[in-house]
Amino acid sequence: MRTLLISGGRVIDPANNIDAVADVLIQNGRIVTVTVRAENGASVSSPVDVEVIDASGLIVCPGFIDTHVSLREPGFEEDECTASGTAAALAGGFTTIAAQSDTSPVVDNRSAAEFIRLQAERAHNCRVYPLGAVTKASKGEELAEIGQLVQGGAVGFSDAKTPVANSEVMRRALEYTRMFNRPILHFAMVPELSEGGVMHEGYQATRLGLRGIPAAAQDIMTGRDIALAELTGGRVHLMCVSTKDSVERVRRAQAIGIAVTADVTPHHLLLTDDVMDSFDTMYKCYPPLRSAEHVTALIAGLKDGTLSAITADHQPLALEKKQVELDIAPPGICGLETLLAVCVKALIEPGHLTWSELIARLTVGPAAVLGLDHGTLSPGSMADVTLINPVEQWTVKSSAFRSRSRNTPFEGQSFTGRVVTTIVDGEVRYRTT
């Protein structure tokens, strides 16, 4: 019988409204108790034969969950593989991720989904649930074998960064997935308006002569998706919301009970399109970094819960792919290992969110999107726990990434707040040295 006691940390468990110094007792991979310390600070008497982790000064919270992570295997092993991607997830404090379907071939059939699970088991890092493609080969034409993908373990459906542009196809997909109570994770973007775009359309794009992607490209598709969710009763989750108007549309839809949720990335919360005057391909992402008014609206949406999840939108890309001209460089940021630090800088340090609110968007929020019962420290739940040193200062060195890729715009920048230990199934799977 393996017993682990995480002693004296600041336990933050948003699902149970806990934010107090407490001891977390874990046995056989399950949470047994969370005991809030009395005023005198005395710890619980520990059972014999227990491994104790001293968490004083640390935040102890449920393991993070990411609703869509691009693991790139099979097909793009030069960027990432399941083992490296899940190791990066652990280093970022993630204990559960949903693997994006954008492999080659695409995860549009049961055996492809089962391969993802098999590779994740072999890697033995974090939990991995596959996302299945909405349409065959993510071409947006015919529905993928959604029922069989569910049997293969798919927790949701997504064509990754390829929007399901045909409204009729999207309508059928929402109707069909409703039968399995699975969400569609959609990248809302009107392809005709975003095609060839390199950055946010606005003053900076005008100045730099770079082709812009207007905010309206996302807003229009967000509006369509909400209308179709209302029509069909299906569940739609909007990935990587980046604009002010999209946040407002989601807020209004939620207010009248439409089943729509949404997430946002840390880089869209910290950076604006001003950085593009470096012409640095590391800043190129999709959707593009927006202007300050959009960033303000995203933070407000995160604060009031309109955006219930934060995603790293992990897009690992081999360095040579980024060392080319800006217009041909693929978009994307290798984000798992810097997520927490960037969130602290964007949200905690300026006082926009409390730690409890931030952790909720990384745990119960994404768990609800995927229909998982993870993301809490409730007694009896799986012992997936992340320990954070909230005051540790560190500098991003991509050469130390667990990910196979190095494409970060935060290279060499200093941050405060770091994941120090990640526990999955009651087992310490990651620890800073």
Partner: protein, 323 residues
């Protein structure tokens, strides 16, 4: 004054010339003054100077441009430099070699200055970060074309004796024009009033934040302007139709003999070329008394000599050598 004697009193201090944005009025004036010096000293002659003697200037053209490349080559050779031309018809990626690798390879052959033309905005900026050589932007996509901006401004200054207080209209495809951006930065910094005029689909959002006025009716603004710069309709840069037809464009924004009568009698007509006769302007205007189009070409050579000289002097200053 001796030809090789450079009357350099003005401020410069730039190792690269990537754009006119951010250059001060004083720096711009330094270039224009040196251009004027070369203009007067050479008096249309073809004497070789030795300002750049012993240096190698590489023309890296990743986009076709016979005119600009020829002008840069001549300018460099007129100053005594050796030149090498590297032309890749399309992106370097088609050969499996990255753009930076190509530039590093050329530099390794012993190059002091790189003149770069590329279809991607920021490509010369990328080179400036990776190379030891001085980088001169000869046009990066739809971003900037600083020597074209300078030669336009020099042409105006030579004709009018000043820039400050003049009203200059940039007409046509502003969205896809690097010439427009460089002109706007330079002219606004030097105190001109700049109006951009063209089809609304070709005038990008927020352009007014660059310090210009926006107009859609050429006839309305024509009486107020001192110079019009007729941008070439960039058929190759347009995805989809930005205006209904060439005929409609010519009708609304083309400069013809009829329309030019509404302008001031001393209006200057500039065009960066190559011109589409019958589209942006009719032959009677292109070859008429208002036109300074061929002066622009001549001045282009002089401006490029001035830029190459200033970059070389800064380079020598940084290396601690003789000036």
């Amino acid at each position: 004054m001796e030809l090789n004697e450079i009357p350099l009193s003005g401020l410069w201090g730039e190792r690269h010339l990537l754009g006119l944005e951010g250059l001060s009025a004083e720096q711009l004036t330094t270039v224009l003054d040196l251009t004027e010096h070369y203009d007067q000293a050479t008096r249309g002659g073809t004497q070789r100077l030795d300002v750049l003697k012993g240096l190698v200037v590489a023309n890296l053209f990743f986009e076709n441009s016979t005119r600009t490349r020829t002008s840069f080559s001549l300018a460099a050779r007129r100053l005594g430099a050796d030149t090498v031309d590297f032309t890749a018809s399309s992106s370097s990626l088609s050969k499996g070699e990255t753009f930076i690798d190509t530039a590093l390879t050329i530099e390794a052959m012993g190059v002091d200055m790189v003149v770069c033309r590329h279809s991607t905005p920021g490509a010369p900026h990328l080179l400036a970060r990776h190379l030891k050589a001085s980088v001169l932007n000869a046009g990066d996509g739809t971003h900037e074309h600083p020597t074209q901006g300078l030669l336009d401004i020099y042409t105006i200054r030579k004709a009018r004796g000043r820039i400050s207080g003049l009203t200059v209209a940039m007409v046509g495809d502003i969205r896809h024009s690097r010439v427009a951006r460089s002109n706007i930065h330079g002219l606004v910094t030097l105190g001109a009033r700049v109006i951009v005029c063209g089809p609304a689909t070709l005038i990008p959002s927020d352009i007014s934040r660059m310090g210009v006025e926006v107009a859609y009716n050429l006839d309305d603004i024509l009486p107020e302007v001192d110079c019009v710069n007729l941008l070439r309709v960039q058929f190759e840069r347009q995805r989809g139709a930005f205006f209904p037809s060439i005929a409609e464009y010519a009708n609304l924004f083309g400069m013809n003999g009829q329309r030019i009568r509404k302008a001031k009698s001393d209006l200057l007509v500039l065009a960066p070329g190559p011109i589409n006769r019958g589209v942006e302007l009719t032959p009677d205007v292109a070859d008429g008394p208002h036109s300074v189009i061929l002066n622009q070409v001549t001045n282009g050579l002089l401006v490029r000599m001035a830029c190459l000289t200033l970059l070389t002097q800064e380079r020598r200053r940084l290396q601690g050598g003789q000036s």
